[in-house]
Symmetry: C2
Amino acid sequence: MTELEKGPQGRRRGRGAHERILSASQQLFRDQGINRTGMDQLCAVAQVSKRTAYQHFTSKDELVAEYLRRFDPDVMPGVFDRTDLTPRERLLAAFDIPASTPLCPYIGAAVELHDPDHPASQYARDYKKAIAARLATTAREAGATDPEQLGEQLALLLDGAAARTRVLNTDSFPTASAIATILINNAIPA
Amino acid sequence: MTELEKGPQGRRRGRGAHERILSASQQLFRDQGINRTGMDQLCAVAQVSKRTAYQHFTSKDELVAEYLRRFDPDVMPGVFDRTDLTPRERLLAAFDIPASTPLCPYIGAAVELHDPDHPASQYARDYKKAIAARLATTAREAGATDPEQLGEQLALLLDGAAARTRVLNTDSFPTASAIATILINNAIPA
DNA sequence: AATTATGTACACCGAGCTGTGTGCTTACCG
DNA sequence: CGGTAAGCACACAGCTCGGTGTACATAATT
């Protein structure tokens, strides 16, 4: 982050503007929210001129959508690909959240943007469905009698924990995990 | 609402400014969100001059806090006081939501304001705790082995359904209700 | 009838927002 | 070396927002 201290003439950060902008988005949109983060501040953090930012993203809305698209990689997928765990263990592992996560950014975006037609809102829906589907297929592997239902239920637990953690400012994922255990035990015949 | 069409001189709505403002808040903050509702629009809907609004509420923040405080009455409490239901039935009745509810305004406020110290955020926390407590006492009446735990679990389900309904734009309360049934059956010894 | 509380109209302020226009500088690549 | 793509600084347009100042009008109370 600080490897390119100051350019030759006291300015200029180099060529990776696009990535720096997205990186700053991740940080600021998460910490402050989307609406409370101005493009000026974002550009300052990204060490990018405003002009450059608008050459990479035609509007803030577009940046927000791209920010959500880039978010996924290092959050959920890791859980589902762990071959060292049984499917049943994988379902439960989804509830082991680092506790540093402020709020699922997809929920945050949907609430803040308040427009179901916003590209970011649409992507948030797609993502939520994808997570539920992932949980469902894993539930199937685990031998659940009704995998779709279990997947949807577990997804609801994740969202509930995320929302509640945000509002109450206390980690609600253990509670969700406890419920998940019960549901899984009930849904998978011994 | 339209009983006082136009004042004697083509203006003036009468004395209930305070209530009209709060009423407009309920409508607009719910439908559009807090940040996307300006005081100008709010005053127009409330048929109140901006000056009057700021004589009743010193700031928008204060209005938001009061809006949340006034929200409660006709939502949850009705469920817990129904003597025609057994405690167990009351717990389940909490999940019968009219489906018109856009999003729990407490979650919305906490996400939109993004400041845990905001009076409205604090009240949202208090309210959420109160709901969990209500559920817990009802769970105790129903004979649950660990009422506090069950109360917290059911509260999480409600929040999960609310958040998920908002993001996915589909009613998630039936799913939550199904989970609740399982939890209740597991928590209350036959 | 006089007083007081309440409400009104409307212009205005300063701040912050998204987004541009312009002219210049630097880094890369053939 | 020379051309081009990428990035820069900086001012500014145009808008909306929260909030205020001022002078006036009406309603309830006494």
